[in-house]
Subunit: 324 residues, 3 copies
Amino acid sequence: MKLFTSVHDVPSIKQFVEDALELKANPYAHQDLGKNKTLGLVFMNPSLRTRLSTQKAALNLGMNVMVMNLDKEGWALETQDGVVMNGSTVEHIREAAAVMGQYCDILGLRSFPKLKDREEDYSEDFFNKFVKYCAVPVVSLESATRHPLQSFADIITIQETSTMQPDGRKPKVILAWAPHVKALPQAVPNSFAEWMCKAQEEGMIDFTIAQPEGYELSEEFTQGADIQYNIEEALAGADYVYVKNWSSYKEYGKVLNYPEGWMMDNEKLKFTNDAKVMHCLPVRRDLELSSEILDGPNSLVIHEAGNRLWAAQAVIKAMLEELK
Amino acid sequence: MKLFTSVHDVPSIKQFVEDALELKANPYAHQDLGKNKTLGLVFMNPSLRTRLSTQKAALNLGMNVMVMNLDKEGWALETQDGVVMNGSTVEHIREAAAVMGQYCDILGLRSFPKLKDREEDYSEDFFNKFVKYCAVPVVSLESATRHPLQSFADIITIQETSTMQPDGRKPKVILAWAPHVKALPQAVPNSFAEWMCKAQEEGMIDFTIAQPEGYELSEEFTQGADIQYNIEEALAGADYVYVKNWSSYKEYGKVLNYPEGWMMDNEKLKFTNDAKVMHCLPVRRDLELSSEILDGPNSLVIHEAGNRLWAAQAVIKAMLEELK
Amino acid sequence: MKLFTSVHDVPSIKQFVEDALELKANPYAHQDLGKNKTLGLVFMNPSLRTRLSTQKAALNLGMNVMVMNLDKEGWALETQDGVVMNGSTVEHIREAAAVMGQYCDILGLRSFPKLKDREEDYSEDFFNKFVKYCAVPVVSLESATRHPLQSFADIITIQETSTMQPDGRKPKVILAWAPHVKALPQAVPNSFAEWMCKAQEEGMIDFTIAQPEGYELSEEFTQGADIQYNIEEALAGADYVYVKNWSSYKEYGKVLNYPEGWMMDNEKLKFTNDAKVMHCLPVRRDLELSSEILDGPNSLVIHEAGNRLWAAQAVIKAMLEELK
């Protein structure tokens, strides 16, 4: 593996989940693979889970890790070509990325969208230029439009906790929009949808997305999903509910009005098949998701965050294997 | 050891000091203990000595270390339960702490008091919730009311440098309040008092606290100490003077008026038994403590800072031994 | 080696370049040397190349590395003696440096000039006090007046890529001033000049400096260099052009008016002997140096940045050898 930015970099989700669960069972078995190899983690935005889990994953594999908070420890980067750099940008991404590639065998990059210009964000211009100019394998630590390490951890969690239902049916997974006070990126839901659609193709799950009018995700990510606008109907028979807020894709980056009743709570859980509840975290308690669910037996959120480690370790291991 | 937040977590100071001095004599003897174990250091406030000495201690024990400046690299945490999180806090400590516990075998936490509300600070609400929800052993890197790694280093330093006096008496240790321009927490003096009272019980030292009226520490920390209000009388015959400013506990967090003559200098050193002078650092020169003392033969401050390493290493080693 | 702050710490450039190229050929051959040794990297200013390359160099040598962004994670340091510290400085450099020396076997320090007071900056007061009080070997990660790791990487790059000319002459190296929008330190050009003058003495190169009137560097750094004011004449026959902006030394820290034509581009490259073009980075594209050069075959800037690693590794190795 030379690039991990979306589900399209993964030949088989089923196999990749198995790889991750093998690492979970035996975390330190591959330390020779990472010996004298260096992972550089570049953050343009804050991070807690991703920073720690990816760092730990690389350490488990015997690698060295260097963390660079480019937003705080560095300076503003220029991304446009043909610009006379007489303004506030200090270095062009062509040089900055190439230089980081000189010191690292693998790079991780986090770069959020600005939510101002849909075309710019969805072009993944910054991310793609970084990948192009650094000239080493790159792991996405969340880009403008996707968060694949999160989605991989999500499907690991579902696979690990699910059992075929008595009637032989596959687990029913719902991505359920939830309220928030801020305009959030679509990266997590885009990515989750993309992974679940492929998992559905591989026969692992059945996948439904529920959101209010105006909150439809880009169709690029939702091919094959059942799209619902009534949350209670969508929840019927659900085995997993993945709760997440996102801002509008159509009216880009906006927080639109929405009908009441989209916060996930025990009342709504009754419509499900005693569903497990997931969230990528950080979660706004009692706004997106009720405390009673988060503190109760149906919540998988901490388990799911724990699996971020094995997702990252499986990705980095696959990259190390091609470096050799 | 599963928790290190105060002297109450230490069965015997004398034994623990011996453990630390053994590590100082042989720093790298226990690297198998830390192999593939990870220490996470979480800072809600700035740090120099604590950050570096604790990191180095863990490296000496063969561990991996991940540092998280949650105040700068992360986001605001909610600590109250039952709050609809529609404000500025991004994540609840229940999730944040639990997630960090997923990636680390031991966690260290620094969290200063706000000095606004005594009850809130002295409840150690934030710290205790972190300990509860992270579900792994926790080392205090200084909490609202205590700084136990500092106090442990302090008693190591006293034990290492003291010899029984010719008349058979134990070393006399004075905690001496000193002026400052800012309102500082009581964490260091509380903790120092608590450790010295226990060391006195164990027959290691005699302990006196000297401060101006209004600067008395909470009695919870000073049981058994001789309390003095006249600095010159308190210094009589002292073998160790521990200089430190703190804000008022009674008029909580306030800088009160105080009589002249509380800065420690060579004039006042004459009242002592050629006492060694200690300070946890950072120290305000010629405000708390004179430059002539700091640059002279009576100062132990750098030696004392050096011992922070062995204090941390003894604590982490004791925790690793129970992890196995 | 106990100190690396300028070319004066290097007995023979030729030999030191050979050492670095040997490390480049065999990066992991000396890991026993760094075992259980700790490098502390202290940054008073931002860094990308220096931070990553020096960290990686130490890891290659088997060391532990602790990074301290003292400007962001720490607090303001006092450097003057005899000052009552009742203002905004929290700790004196005497204590801060001494404490860091307690936890680290080697320290690296970055400290930029303020460009307000020439005498203060050129005294290297802060840097020298840090060296004095920390009491361990110190590597400059760029000081007020010099950037020796950069200059070392530069001469490594020249040596690695140059071949004696057909007519038996040595490579001609030009340091060429270039425009910028900000007032930049003279550290990089001072240091480059100092190293090239010594390399010229050792018979490795011929060295010329070209700058507009008023931009002359301090003569302390340029002994033996050919000084030119006409860029086109200076470039005649050049094999290497080192492009760099700096603010005035004479009218200290000022950006003076300058004649047109100092940006390096393909037109000016025609005057040279198909010269290789170098820059320490970050570079302002199409202001200092044209994009066509940076993206073309004559640019060495990424290669040069890559050599920062081997420069740092050779320096740290030389220090480790004297620690043993």
